[in-house]
């Protein structure tokens, strides 16, 4: 599934993910946002994989990945959660 969010006054976030048996099994996040340090994107994607297709689980995993010393420019932590939730809502397994 794919979803994208153009943050008002900010940047674009796009996610491509796949869901199997009620869990996210792959996730790729792209866009023109800034994330410092940049390598954080890899751990974010890795942490999303395995998530149940529930907003709570996704939010928890995104918050965990982007906490502390991570600086986002042009998008917020909530924006990342929101676009992933939007993607899984299109999932045939999302009920």
């Amino acid at each position: 599934m794919r979803a994208e969010l153009k943050v008002p006054g900010g940047k674009l976030i796009r996610i491509d993910c796949a869901v199997k048996n009620g869990k996210i099994v792959s996730a790729k996040i792209t866009g023109d946002f800034f994330m410092h340090p940049e390598e954080t994107i890899n751990s974010l994607e890795k942490n999303i994989v395995g998530s149940a297709i529930s907003e709570n689980d996704i939010e928890r995993r995104v918050n965990e990945s982007l906490k502390d010393d991570i600086t986002l420019v042009g998008a917020s932590i909530a924006d990342f959660t929101s676009v992933i939730v939007q993607a899984i809502k299109g999932s045939p397994n999302s009920g």
Binding site: E4, R14, K28, T30, D32, F34, H36, E38, V73
Partner: protein
């Protein structure tokens, strides 16, 4: 190491080498081999650079790039896809230690402080420009410059563009739009929202524009820019990184 900057004047390189030189300077600055550095460059041949997080398949029409002989490179900085026309643009890069007292620790604030150099440079040319958060510079409400920053191992790299001449139609042949059905609308929108030095004041030599940018940054940072060149070690580092990283499929097609 903050009293003066090394200045490397306008030169032209291919896309991989341009990105590799920025990285080489970051590396030598980190090892305290060189001073903070300001560099001006052009892209020869013309090239598209995409942001670190962007999907190359979503952003770039690779066939059109091949047809035009336009190179494609992935940057280490985030941000959007940019078409760097050899005759239509000058790029700058600024590499400094995060301990440089002139540059705010806060990333958003530092964009504004560093972009002031370009704002002053445009003022030197008679243009009234202003910083537009997050990372743009506008003239009369239209974008003339985009900027991108990364910080690694205690070193800041900010690079950015100044549009000298803009060909929006060609740009949209090389870059993809989010929704193909809205392509015409997107082109019209960009034509209304983007400007260039040529459009604003007529044709100037690249050298004159480069000099203005140099003076703008030197003034805004309150430091001397002393003519310099890349050290042999930096050139070698850049050649290696160009080959092993920026020309590699693994790097370019990672997203």
């Amino acid at each position: 190491m903050t009293d003066s900057f090394r200045f490397i004047g306008l030169e032209s390189q291919d896309a991989g080498m341009n990105m590799a030189i920025d990285e080489a300077i970051m590396n030598s600055r980190r090892n305290n081999k060189v001073r903070d550095t300001f560099r001006l460059y052009r892209w020869k041949p013309s090239a598209v650079s995409i942001g670190f997080f962007q999907s190359i398949a979503d952003e770039v029409n690779l066939q059109a790039c091949t047809n035009y002989g336009v190179e494609v490179v992935r940057r280490i900085t985030g941000g959007g896809a940019v078409y760097h026309d050899f005759d239509g643009e000058i790029t700058y890069s600024l590499i400094a230690g995060v301990d440089n007292p002139k540059i705010p620790t806060d990333i958003l604030k530092s964009y504004e402080v560093l972009c002031e150099g370009l704002v002053l440079g445009l003022k030197n040319l008679g243009l009234s420009a202003r910083f537009h958060p997050v990372n743009d510079i506008l003239v009369d409400g239209k974008k003339i410059s985009g900027n991108a920053q990364t910080r690694k191992n205690g070193i800041i790299l900010q690079h950015g563009t100044l549009l000298i001449d803009v060909n929006v139609d060609k740009m949209f042949e090389l870059l993809k739009v989010t929704d193909e059905k809205l392509r015409d609308k997107a082109i019209k929108g960009v034509k209304e929202r983007v400007t260039s030095v040529n459009l604003e004041i007529g044709k100037l030599s690249m050298e004159k524009v480069a000099l203005s940018i140099r003076e703008g940054f030197s003034t805004s940072l309150g430091v001397q820019f002393e003519e310099g060149h890349l050290e042999d070690e930096e050139v070698q580092f850049a050649k290696n990184v160009r080959e092993e990283k920026y020309l590699s499929k693994e790097w370019t097609f990672q997203r």
